[in-house]
Amino acid sequence: MSNASSAPQHSTALPNGWEMVVGLEVHVELDTKTKLFSASPNHFGDEPNTNIDPVTLGLPGALPVLNKQAVELAIRLGLALNCTVQPSTFHRKNYFYQDMPKAYQISQYDQPINIDGFMMLPGDVRIGIERAHLEEDTGKSTHIGGSSGRIHGSDYSLVDFNRAGVPLVEIVSRPDIRNSDQARQYVAELRAILLAVGASDAKMEEGSMRCDVNVSVRKPGAEFGTRCEIKNVNSIRAVGKAIDYEARRQIDVLESGGTIRQETRHWDDAEGRTHTLRSKEDADDYRYFLEPDLVLLDPGTEWIEQIRASLPMLPAARRAQLATLTGANKESESVYVVVERGQDEYIAAVAQAGGDAGRALVYVQQAFAEEGATPAVSAAHLAALTQMERDSKVTATQAKTILAEMVANGGGDPAAIAAAKGFEALDTSAVEAMVDAAIAQQADAWAKYCAGEEKAMGALVGAIMKASQGKADGKVVTAILQSRRG
């Protein structure tokens, strides 16, 4: 997924002092080999109905048995979200739909496995996590006929049960989100955490991570307004757009004297709007009751602590560490991007090899987008390049050229590349001579520059760079010009 980066794209403020209140329900498919309650493969993209068994199909007499790995992954996620892991039970959620052959979904109700966590967003914004519970995914229906491929007006539906019974965790945030930037940051951070702990591949485009968004609006300090739930929000970008659209729609309704009905709405990404899917006036009545075929799940302190000890360093801690090492802001785009690519340990290795970590961060962000966690360029060679630039043996522009060559060749000694390209450092006296020559040739520009016209410096620098065939260091040239002006 290419849109996971947390690059800031600021949402505009709401009119007339309105405030939005947003909560997210995110479903993620766990990265297990088999389903939650049966041994059919959990595998995306297979031929329809090839990963099915009696439990998946709800055949009479088939009994569910809980997948230990799904429990472990759910706990890993729960701990990473600062949740309390508690003894839990499973319930039947009863409803009729063709993609649930049992006529119920097994989910967790009043005793979910993970409760009361939180996630931190940039600016020390804390978003509460109400719960992160286990449940089974449904099958997939394709509606045939009718105009839009949606259920209304369709002639019939085709059902594939490969996905039915795939283990899910549903992560329910508290309504702590106040703008679409935070919502996008929340989803991006959740995705980063899922990848870090190995709970899910979190591919929104394949549906292994799916967002439902609850939106209401109010005046600050007032009671929460009536909320609408938006479904079909299938990318981080769409999360932001859907929230901004829906908040404005509700404000328009309220300001024109209307009221908001509690309902489920569908996000149409092509049209950029939401529309009513169904009213919730008939409040959902799923007649939850305890699943009699499953017993208490009580992982116990020993297992939980074992899992906690096995967790990797989480993205937020890695960003903080990288920021400390490089001197960059921990909320800067470069820090986010580099940790997302897993290249922070590489930068630590560059620093270990005597390199300048701050320069390495810039190089890695700019030049290693196509590289993984272990770039082809060795840490020692990148360290050498940062030293050459720091010691003014090459200019910043030359360093960039050398780096591009190193990346293209899958490595290489920067000193050798510099020599091959004739990037020998000009000593300062040579640059000073060029500066003086330029001042003599460009007397007009020099006079203007001396009179305080800063942009006149450009003509002088340009002439000097040309004379040096790009070998002069722009920073050195500028410094000499400034000292000559006095």
Partner: protein
């Protein structure tokens, strides 16, 4: 007569609708009477002080019945679809839904 444990005709109608059951008025009256009788039967529990009793999660004294994450062979698709009322393109063909999406 309404007692603390009675089930009204309205409740029966609502539950029947949720369960997609088509009951006649006569059947609804019968169900209301029988369900009320059953609740009445268990009503004695209300007289006990249960404040110190932890609700029972399961009738069986077991916990953590778990399975290793190992793939077993799936059912044969053609055989399964042959048992379905209708199939098309490797999938079950069903009428437009009369139900609800979760």
């Amino acid at each position: 007569m309404a007692t603390p444990h009675s089930i009204s005709i309205e409740t029966v109608a609502k539950v029947a609708n949720l369960a997609r059951l088509n009951l006649t008025p006569q059947e609804m009256a019968t169900m209301a009477e029988q369900l009320s009788g059953m609740l009445e039967h268990f009503g004695g529990i209300d007289k006990l002080d249960l404040s110190a009793v932890v609700p029972m999660a399961q009738a069986v004294p077991l916990k953590n019945v778990l399975r290793e994450d190992v793939v077993m062979p799936s059912l044969d698709r053609d055989e399964v679809l042959a048992s379905a009322p209708d199939a098309h393109d490797g999938r079950f063909r069903v009428p437009p839904s009369a139900g609800q999406e979760s």
